[in-house]
Amino acid sequence: MNITRRQTLAGLASTMLLPALSGTAFAQAANFRIGALNPITGSGAAYGSGMQKMILAAAEVVNAAGGAAGKKLEVFAEDDQSQPQAAVLAAKKLIDVNKVQSILGTWASGVSLAVAPLTNDANIMLMNTSGAPALSVPPANAKGLLFRFQATNDRFGRAFAEVAKKEGFKRPVTMAFNNASGIGNADGFKKAWEAQGGKVYESIVYEPNQPSYRAELQKALAAKPDVIVMGSYLADTTIILREWFQTGETTKFIMPAWAGNPDLVKALGPEVSEGIIAVDSISNEGSEAFKAYDAAYQKAMGQSGLNNVYAAMTWDMVIVLALAMEAAGPNADVPAIAKKMFEVAGPGGKPVATFAEGKEALKSGKIDYQGASSVLDFDKFGDVTPDFSVSVAEKGKIERKYVVKLSA
């Protein structure tokens, strides 16, 4: 048989086109398609698997209760590798090949910011657990299709201010890693602290990957602070605290828990880490929804749901999405469902804790889903206000001391 190059090309082209055609046909089917885009590997690897499993588990719960708005949820899972490049490729695949109608569970701010333009173009929702303030506003949130289940860095800053007040600090200084998250934390603290009538005596922004941070530290310490509020990450915090200890000063530190964690205490040793205050957002512990999530998490991961705040967030993503679908009705498109997200989770309705309960209650009026991750009242930017835990390092161990609640 003689096949010309042209015939070969035509043949190849048609095989490439076929799945695309059938894909469009499938998209009309009765399932609602969800993309689970989680940090299975990379810097978020400690959380990613649990996040993905909770999306799958919550989808099962919804499907077992008869689905939402007459549709079953179908989950397509991908690894975003905690990296924007890999995340964009995976999101493209989810959108173009799997035809997903929402992407759930991006973790790193850089990843969420990179994926947002793609989901916006496709007119689908992106639910994330990132902190960067830029995710609240256009261009990232140009269409109101972004929902954030984690506290913004700004709210972290407010929590820092609450802690600083409670601990009786008078002369704070901030040190921030030069990116959206680090500066967001420091600025959030400054705004909230000054609103309380306080003064921030020095604000320092530093570059990553420096062989030394002594000049930065010296400037911070020159203001004679009693506490240094950090918007930082693990590596730079390790270097800065080691250098700080070697200056002989006795300042205290308040930092986010992704910097002030057991790894930091291990790297610094008990003497240097003594008294470090780490602040983290926490789940809506003690709520009915948290119990349901916790049971599912124990079953899937073999450990307590307290170990993964982000998995509680992805659990809530699926439940709220399903409730919003139910409220919007069977023929609603994704933007219409997005509008209902505010309604089913917002205050004013009948409090519910599970999908089945919410589905039933929707028949008779408004509902207010009280989530496992927080009470989940989205503000107009699609952001929530969780509670915060305050942990202190003592004798080489970092343990929770108390909880701080912010007004929304």
Partner: protein, 288 residues
């Protein structure tokens, strides 16, 4: 004033690390005639090997020596497998290949050790005070080690037969060859030395900061700046330029802003190159 002095000391330490790495870069450039972008990754290998040795034996000296040894071996292996094959090709192919070598090193380290950080669990000590200036004992040790290493490198270059041959090849490869200098042996010695010097820079950086697979790669830009500033291919120049960059960055940034640290390195570079296009110590090379 005391603060100023403390910053200068701190800058000197950073500068010695940058200078050592720039020395490793410039050694290769002088003889093999290309900019080795994997220099930073040899630093990383050295730091990981040293941490391994330190954890196993509890001795930072043994750990450091292991780091140097593994750095030297990595240099020789990369020459044997990659750069030897590319000899005689345009230098850009060797440059590109070195970027690839760096990628491989980072990926392998990432697979073995993960992307989390490691630290040398060395005791942190409070500083000594002399006339209100805080001196950190660890700084003195790091400085002494770096100076000792520089002394050894310059002794090898200027007082041994292999060093003389290296300088001959650096001066004029053709002339060296017709004078009966076997290039292969010179290259092995060169790569071993460059690898070990880079590894030492990595170990010192690792002691001062944290160790992770990208640590050396992230240092590459100031290292390149120092090598160019010193007059590329000139060992003394590279070290001095590294120290100058380190000190100026540390002293000036409190006034111009910390986010401009790297930019400042390039402003110095720019000014020096405008006044002295050959760098501090370099010679203007004719077209060969």
């Amino acid at each position: 004033m005391s603060g100023f002095l403390e910053l200068a000391i701190s800058g000197l330490m950073s500068g010695l690390v940058i200078g050592l790495a720039a020395l490793a870069l410039t050694l290769v450039f002088g003889v093999a005639r290309f900019a080795n972008a994997a220099t930073g990754d040899f630093m990383t290998i050295g730091a990981y090997a040293a941490v391994f040795g330190f954890t196993a034996t509890g001795s930072i000296v043994i750990g450091g020596l292991l780091g140097l040894f593994i750095g030297a071996v990595s240099g020789v292996i990369s020459y044997f497998l990659v750069f030897r094959v590319l000899e005689g090709r345009p230098s850009v192919s060797a440059l590109l290949a070195s970027i690839g070598v760096g990628f491989i090193i980072r990926s392998v380290l990432g697979v073995i050790y993960g992307h989390g950080q490691q630290v040398f669990q060395l005791p942190l000590v409070r500083p000594w005070r002399y006339f209100d200036v805080r001196i950190q004992p660890n700084d003195l040790k790091i400085g002494a080690t770096a100076l000792l290493a520089l002394l050894v490198v310059f002794l090898v270059l200027h007082a041994t037969p292999i060093g003389r041959r290296m300088r001959a090849v650096a001066d004029d490869p053709m002339l060296a060859r017709v004078s009966g200098i076997a290039p292969r042996k010179v290259m092995f010695a060169l790569w071993a030395m460059s690898g070990a010097v880079a590894a030492l820079a990595g170990v010192l950086l690792g002691i001062r900061t944290v160790i992770w697979p990208e640590m050396g790669w992230e240092m590459l830009i100031p290292v390149f700046a120092a090598a160019v500033l010193g007059g590329i291919g000139h060992p003394v120049g590279a070290v001095l330029a590294g120290v100058i960059l380190g000190v100026v960055q540390e002293i000036a940034t409190p006034y111009v802003g910390f986010t401009y640290k790297l930019a400042l390195a390039f402003i110095i570079l720019l000014v020096v190159l405008l006044v002295r296009p050959k760098g501090l110590f370099g010679r203007v090379e004719g077209v060969r």
